[in-house]
């Protein structure tokens, strides 16, 4: 019980870190301190946290354009992350990648990708390495409902299936790909099935759909899929139903969805739900929660200070890192 209590509190804290980090990015983007596009993970925290907490250190993940939560849940350094989003030399990618591409390769992150659906075949390839080098590593691939309409989804899952690759495909079904609903009974839709996980059967792998706003449900389903993959049982598809609280990117006026729909989903907020569950089970009291919140806020505030006080990259950096190692 002690172990599971600690893990639950840890998962709550991980979600709170993402919430605070993303709200802070939102604010500084609005103030014009952050260039480019930012796709926030607000509302979807339970997916990254539930899934990444099912992994071991040697495992890999592939991330997406909406990737801040994945990296944070994997233990990313908030200072280096924030600095990257601010475009500073001290960022994870030396300011070259930005919000859409922050990655800590040492944490097994095989890039955050701006090309929707690009991560799926990369994850399959990482699964091949596990077989070739017999590493025992599992690769977890995050992708959206929209990505599941690309050929890469079908080709990568088929390959993972026929080669029995140790990959867990985690679909973050937040109901939309920009303005396109994943499914609706009538009108525009991305696909004609309610559950993306239905597609698993076509590739002969197991597929489940879970409540993506329930961190324990996500963690349980992914833990099982990871165990299966690690024991030679091959790939699985885990679909997590969730919802983004913000627009597709900051600045999106969200004309394609209703305020009522958003409000309904906010009632299912993964963080307040989990916090209440922990309180009901007497694993957390208000004072402990407040303490946690203060700690998280201080950590993110420090990350902002660190970023604002960091230098811009040197202009000479424009042409370095085009090739790995030295020279051309």
């Amino acid at each position: 019980m002690k172990e599971s209590k600690d893990k639950m509190i840890q998962m709550l804290e991980d979600m709170m870190v993402i919430r605070e980090f993303e709200s802070t990015v939102q604010k500084h983007f609005a103030e014009g301190e952050i260039p480019g596009f930012v796709h926030l993970y607000l509302g979807e925290e339970a997916v990254a946290v539930g899934a990444c907490n099912a992994l071991e250190e040697k495992d890999y993940i592939t991330s997406t354009h909406r990737g801040h939560g994945h990296l944070l849940a994997r233990g990313g350094d908030v200072n280096k992350m924030m600095a990257e989003i601010f475009g500073k030399a001290t960022g994870y990618n030396k300011g070259k990648g930005g919000s859409m591409h922050i990655a800590d390769v040492s944490l097994g992150i095989l890039g955050a990708n701006g090309i929707v659906g690009a991560g799926l075949p990369i994850a399959a390839g990482s699964g091949i390495t596990s077989q070739i080098l017999d590493t025992g590593a599992v690769t977890l691939c995050f992708f959206g409902d929209g990505a599941s309409n690309r050929g890469t989804f079908h080709e990568a899952i088929n390959l993972a299936s026929i080669w029995n690759l140790p990959v867990v495909f985690v679909c973050e079904n937040n109901m939309y790909a920009i303005s396109m609903p994943q499914y609706r009974s009538d009108g525009r839709k991305g696909q004609n099935i309610k559950d993306v996980s239905d597609r698993a059967v076509a590739y002969g792998i197991s597929g489940v759909t879970v409540d993506g706003n329930d961190v324990m449900a996500v963690n349980e389903a992914v833990t099982e899929a990871v165990k299966k993959a690690r024991n030679g049982g091959g790939p699985s598809l885990v679909e997590c139903k969730t919802y983004r609280h913000r627009g597709h990117f900051e600045g999106d006026p969200t004309v394609y969805r209703s305020d009522e729909e958003l409000e309904e989903w906010k009632k299912k907020d993964p963080i307040s739900r989990f916090k209440n569950l922990l309180k009901d089970q007497e694993l957390l009291d208000d004072a402990e929660y407040d303490e946690l919140k203060e700690k998280v806020e201080a950590r993110i505030k420090e990350a902002v200070d660190f970023s604002q006080n960091s230098p811009d990259p040197d202009p000479s950096e424009v042409t370095t890192d085009v090739y790995y190692g030295e020279g051309v």
């Binding site: 070259k96 990648g97 930005g98 859409m100 701006g114 396109m180 525009r188 085009v322």
Partner: protein, 324 residues
């Protein structure tokens, strides 16, 4: 004439062509109620309905492949690929299907389709969302490649592209979308593919520029004029077919040539123009051709780096000064 932005001019071109010809339709990601990622399709779904302004899933391969099929059977699709950096996804559909169909069938099949794609850096969108991919398509026989730099050109060229019986890759620059200019209202206003435009006359040096670099070259020309240096700025407007005569005529007058584009330099459109002029205009040149491009590196995210990366007006000014 109306004062329109580049994006509005593109929208009007599509609306006019859809009104004129019911076989013209639009498809792409978020082109409907969202109005397009950069707002180009705007309210067209309200004006023409969901059948003719089709929102697709994220499915570039099927967008372009189905455009080929639609074009071969009597439709005239205008497909939007959200960023030029995503053109790698449907590459087979472009270079093996759209581009070769006419040739492989011995001229029997036609593929009248337009593929619109926002090109270029400058908005902090990082490496995969800032690509400039025109050279990939210039290389492929069977494709036409268009790249307007003003609202009027955008409208006139898009209308010609829709009416053309061949696949046209139509590049737009993200930074230009909000640029305003006078645009003819005449529904029959078109600009022929393959005709360059002299955007500014000058006697001292020729600058051939594409896309946003036309804007930068004109800014440079203003500053240089204050110092008594008159550069001629030529916008090819269509990269394929390429109007070499207009360029050679200008070089004959000035004897000096700079070719400027936002592309990475190696194997770029500027390489092609250099080769053509070096072969056909060698003895018109008083000194070697200079090319102004981005460095051979992906586009960096940080504003501090992106600023250095983009070949802006200052780079043109200093190159001109080295030559005159």
């Amino acid at each position: 004439m109306s004062k329109l932005t580049y994006a509005e001019a593109l929208r009007e071109a599509m609306a006019e062509e859809m009104e004129r010809d019911k076989s013209v339709f639009i498809m792409g990601e978020d082109v409907g109620v969202f109005g397009g990622c950069f707002g180009v399709t705007g309210d067209l779904v309200e004006r023409f309905g969901e059948d003719r302004v089709r929102d697709t899933p994220i499915t570039e391969t099927a967008i372009v492949g189905s455009a080929v099929g639609a074009a071969m059977t009597g439709s005239r699709p205008i497909a939007e690929i959200m960023f030029a950096g995503f053109l790698g996804v449907p590459m087979d559909e472009i270079f093996n299907q759209a581009a070769k169909m006419c040739y492989m069938t011995g001229g029997q099949a036609k593929v009248p389709m337009v593929l619109r794609a926002p090109n270029g850096a400058g908005i902090g969108a990082a490496a995969q969302h800032s690509e400039r991919t025109e050279a990939w398509f210039v290389h492929v026989p069977g494709l036409k490649v268009v790249y307007p730099s003003t609202p009027a050109d955008a409208k006139g060229l898009l209308k010609s592209a829709v009416r053309d019986d061949n696949p046209v890759i139509f590049f737009e620059h993200k930074i230009l979308y909000n640029h305003k200019g006078e645009v003819p209202d005449d529904k029959d206003f078109t600009i022929p593919l393959g005709k360059a435009d002299v955007k500014r006359e000058g006697k001292d040096l020729t600058v051939v520029a594409t896309g946003i670099l036309v804007t930068y070259a004109l800014e440079a020309a203003e500053k240089l004029a204050e110092e008594g240096i008159e550069i001629e700025v030529i916008d090819p407007r269509t990269l394929v077919p390429f109007d070499k005569e207009t360029v050679l005529d200008s070089v004959e007058k000035t004897g000096k040539l700079i070719i400027a584009s936002e592309e990475t330099k190696r194997g770029s459109f500027t390489s092609e123009v250099s080769a053509v002029v070096a072969k056909e205009g060698l003895f018109l040149l008083e000194q070697p051709i200079k090319r102004i491009c981005a460095p051979d590196a992906p586009v960096p995210f940080s504003s501090a780096l992106e600023k250095v990366y983009i070949p802006g007006p200052e780079k043109i000014i200093s190159a001109v000064k080295e030559m005159v």
